[in-house]
């Protein structure tokens, strides 16, 4: 007594051997195959002074990997809350599905940035999508660059005599992992005292209040 499944396979085999019903033959071949699905999420990277970036990837290998289309969907998170999502659709079989998520730090601020991804594989010959599961990349913790030093040394502006005090001081700049040239400005009132400082490399850097004519030493 043949089961319905056995009868179906036998029928397909006969049709295939006669060179008939190509779609059924392809379906039969598709049913017996496996490919290896791969998925990865990268550690988040401090890309430049104002961006954090991470990658999600899916791809396949194996004898019939061209039958399968990889997809990847990635979520970038700040302190555990999703701030951006990326998805690759319409990817070609045989190529890597890759998502790059880049976030500008300026509006988001410091914190723990991480990415996780979900990996999908679509068998066109069977109209079937399988999920590999999720992968999780390591987080990068972003701190805001800081300056430390004496307070309000620039308030010497406007006096008739400064008695040897200078409107300049050394401030210690700590980039806290930022690349490029971190830049700080402190604004108070016009020519009453404002200070700006940029550093590359950072360390103890001189800072001066702007030239205000007679008030400047």
């Amino acid at each position: 007594m043949l089961t319905s499944s056995t009868r179906r396979i036998a029928r397909s085999a006969v049709m295939c051997s006669l060179g008939l019903f190509w779609a059924l033959c392809a379906q039969a071949q598709c049913q017996q195959e496996t490919v290896t699905g791969w998925g990865a999420s990268s550690t988040s990277i401090r890309l430049d002074s104002n961006h954090v970036q991470a990658y999600g990837q899916s791809w396949t290998s194996g004898d019939v990997y061209l039958q399968v289309t990889p997809y990847v969907e990635s979520w970038q998170q700040l302190n555990g809350s999703t701030i951006s999502i990326g998805y690759t659709g319409n990817n070609n079989p045989g190529s890597t599905a890759q998502v790059t998520l880049t976030t500008q730090l300026d509006p988001n601020g410091p914190g723990s940035y991480s990415i996780y991804s979900s990996h999908w594989f679509y068998w066109a010959c069977a109209n079937y999508t399988q999920n590999l599961g999720n992968t999780f990349g390591n987080a990068v913790v972003v701190y805001r660059p800081t300056i430390t030093g004496v307070s309000a040394f620039w308030w010497l502006g406007g006096v008739l005599a400064d008695n040897g005090y200078y409107a300049q001081s050394g401030l210690t700049a700590n980039p806290n992992g930022a690349s490029g040239t971190p830049y700080w400005t402190v604004n108070t009132v016009n020519c009453g005292g404002s200070v700006s400082l940029g550093c590359n490399p950072c360390g103890v850097r001189p800072a001066s209040r702007p030239d205000c004519g007679q008030h400047e030493r």
């Binding site: 190509w22 496996t34 999420s41 791809w59 004898d63 890597t96 890759q98 069977a126």
Partner: protein, 164 residues
């Protein structure tokens, strides 16, 4: 709830059980993932608004891989060459599949295996090339990165629709 489940099954979107298997050191597909990643990094550098930001990105990405910028550039050249070679293999395999499909023939299993073998050989050659062109320190660091941090965030699974 039942309607949602029915919709998912009808569209073929079925989430399978995930089995994470071990990935051996220097597994060729590890390098495929790296070559793809490195090529994407180059695109990210090229898309920078200006040269200063591009330099900054290159320095950051080299630091991420624990290699010098000179080795980063060399690794980029190797990645590009390996992926171009694999594109050639994929194109040949696709052409063969199309030809067999048009002739209403089943693709020959041995030929499909040969295409996969060509891909594996290209990846192994790429790994050897990295070792050859990078500085000894750069190769050691990159090898550690690929087989350490990168591998630890990589999963693989045999995928099939046999359970459809």
């Amino acid at each position: 709830m039942n309607k949602v489940a029915l919709l998912l099954f009808a569209s073929g979107l079925v989430v399978a059980q995930t089995t994470i298997t071990g990935i051996s050191v220097d597994e060729p597909e590890l390098y495929y993932g790296f070559f793809s990643l490195r090529t994407q990094m180059q695109a990210d550098i090229s898309s920078a608004e200006n040269d200063s930001i591009a330099s900054e990105r290159q320095a950051s990405l080299a630091k991420y891989l624990h290699i010098s910028e000179a080795d980063f550039v060399r690794a980029g050249d190797v990645s590009k060459a390996v992926l171009a070679r694999i594109v050639g293999v994929v194109s040949a395999a696709k052409a063969y599949n199309s030809q067999e499909t048009a002739g209403r023939r089943m693709p020959d299993r041995a030929k499909l295996q040969a295409y996969q073998q060509q891909r594996t050989v290209a990846l192994e050659d790429g790994m050897k090339e990295l070792k050859k062109v990078l500085s000894p320190q750069g190769w050691s660091a990159l090898h550690d990165f690929i087989n350490g941090e990168y591998r630890s965030h990589l999963v693989r699974k045999e995928v099939s629709h046999a359970n459809k």
